[in-house]
Amino acid sequence: MSPDSQQDFALAFLSILFEGVPFILLGTLISGFIDIYLPAGMMDRFLPKNKFFAVLSAGLLGAVFPVCECAVVPVIRRLVRKGLPVSCALTYMLAAPIVNPITALSTWKAFQGQGAAMMTSSRLLLGFLIAVAVGMIVSKLPLASVLKAKLVESLEKDETKAAHDHSCCGHDHSHDEPAEENRLVAAFRSAMKDFVDVAVYFAIGVSITALFNTGIAPGAQWLDGLAKNPTAAPAALMALAFILSLCSTSDAFIAATLDKFSWGAKLAFLTFGPMMDVKLLFLYQTVLRKRFIVLLAIGLFLAIGGISIYWQQLVFAAK
């Protein structure tokens, strides 16, 4: 890299880093405290009994329990084991990283001067609608076609165990409550672990973005060329979101710098990324069947891409 390129990379890299880090920290602190202080059964209490309304409510749970996409997978794995319907769990899994106050705030801040209110509301609405649609489809599918075989087996075992009466089994099921200061330490450790996990992907993502942003990366001109194509641009940015694997609390700061791309393409980037990326592909495999993950990825790509293109035309035709 020439000295000029080093200087350009450094300026772009540090500026995006300075802008995004506070929002990652806020997200991971909240996520860490939820991880330790929130009992798994708490979420069930927020959901209505009716299946349709339960899925709708699950799509909004992120507003109350905000977690990013990295933290949400272990959470839903635990929730499914605790009896939360799979349709609700998947709706929450897809919606929570987008439909939450931290992501809304970071998107709004990142797009100041670029139609922040429209981008934030469109992102939240599209994220919610897509997650609910997936939840409704999943509610019609058999568990075995969605969840990993091992998880289905363990759920079936748990159902059998539930019939087992604890009052006469002769052993104690209670756990010693740890001291409050120990839980605080655990919460900070969980927050730091989440921060490091996210910071690593963020640093990689920001590095790649800085290379493209300043024209150092060899494909920068090619990517710029795609930016003008109304169909290829959202597809290219969704592919970029998939590769970059950014956290939903900070991805808006990257999207906002892609100034050659249309508003609709950025919306696709911001909606697809938190639902499907390289790291999520691995995380999803701890819960979901591979076939289901592939179908989910294709479905999300087509639905989000199509809606973003349509939405772009609608918004700009109205102006």
């Binding site: 300026l11 990142a110 690593v200 800085a210």
Partner: protein
């Protein structure tokens, strides 16, 4: 790696990030990277990281329970294991930050500026919020809203001059007006057959330097221009013109005088505190 060492390593990585954020804020260099609204947020982030890193560093050896059942082998989750080896994670976090701190000169090179619109025609740029920055629409109001230098030049913001090229009414008012403005000095690489031109620009930062755009005007000297360092700050006074060049209206300042100037406090000149 055992849990205690992993916590110490992660805490140190977090503290390095914290130190970088706090240093750039405290030294004032943050003004080259972020728009004003984001600087205090960045500072708060640096402080928050310091608390997170120090707390975990000081309690690294302490026993702590999360207070819920992990469900045995079928639910292997814990609250501290990450996606990758701790050393790899820390290196990926630290190396690009340390390199960037070492490499940065707090400004872009000419090549990056060119990509950020340094040589774009004004009409090719459209930023919706700029209307509010344009001056009033009568000459009297323009004179009232802009200070006059002792030698009779009206002090203009560079952005006003740049975007006037896209507004016929403004062009009519500013054409032939004697103005003074400030910006960074750069070579003129297009439409400069006699070598009598330079370019004056400032960066418009919406949120951060990565999303910034160069806002340029052309300086016409009519002879060989004086020498100033590339990217150095200058104050220029002259007469504003809007000639049609290769089918594009260009904002051109025919220069009467140019002096080296102190960099202004704000790189991001659109935002108000």
């Amino acid at each position: 790696m055992n849990s205690r060492n992993r916590r110490i390593l992660f805490s140190l990585a977090v503290l390095v990030w914290s130190a970088v954020l706090l240093y750039f804020y405290a030294s004032g260099r943050i003004t080259k990277y972020l728009a004003p609204d984001f600087r205090i947020i960045s500072f708060a982030g640096g402080l928050g990281l310091a608390v997170l890193g120090l707390f975990n560093l000081l309690t690294a050896g302490q026993q702590a329970g999360c207070g819920h059942d992990h469900g045995g082998e079928e639910d292997p989750h814990d609250h501290e294991s990450g996606d990758m080896h701790p050393l790899t994670a820390v290196l990926l976090m630290i190396v690009p930050v340390v390199l960037s701190v070492a490499w940065t000169k707090d400004e872009y090179s000419a090549a990056a500026l060119s990509r950020k619109g340094l040589y774009d025609a004004p009409s090719a740029v459209s930023l919706p919020f700029l209307a509010s920055s344009l001056p009033a629409l009568t000459l009297e109001e323009i004179e009232k809203s802009h200070r006059k230098t002792p030698d009779g030049f009206l002090e203009f913001n560079l952005m006003e001059l740049f975007f006037s090229s896209g507004d016929r009414e403004m062009q009519g008012l500013l054409d032939g007006l004697k103005v003074e403005t400030e910006g960074r000095w750069m070579d003129e690489k297009i439409r400069n057959p006699h070598g009598s031109r330079k370019r004056l620009y400032r960066l418009f930062i919406t949120c951060c330097a990565a999303d910034s755009r160069a806002i340029p005007i052309v300086l016409e000297f009519g002879k060989t221009p004086p020498e100033f360092p590339e990217n150095g700050w200058v104050k220029v006074a002259g007469t504003m013109r809007f000639p049609l060049e290769e089918g594009v209206i260009q904002p051109v300042l025919t220069v009467d005088r140019v002096l080296a100037a102190e960099p202004p406090y704000e790189e991001s000149f659109m935002r108000k505190k």
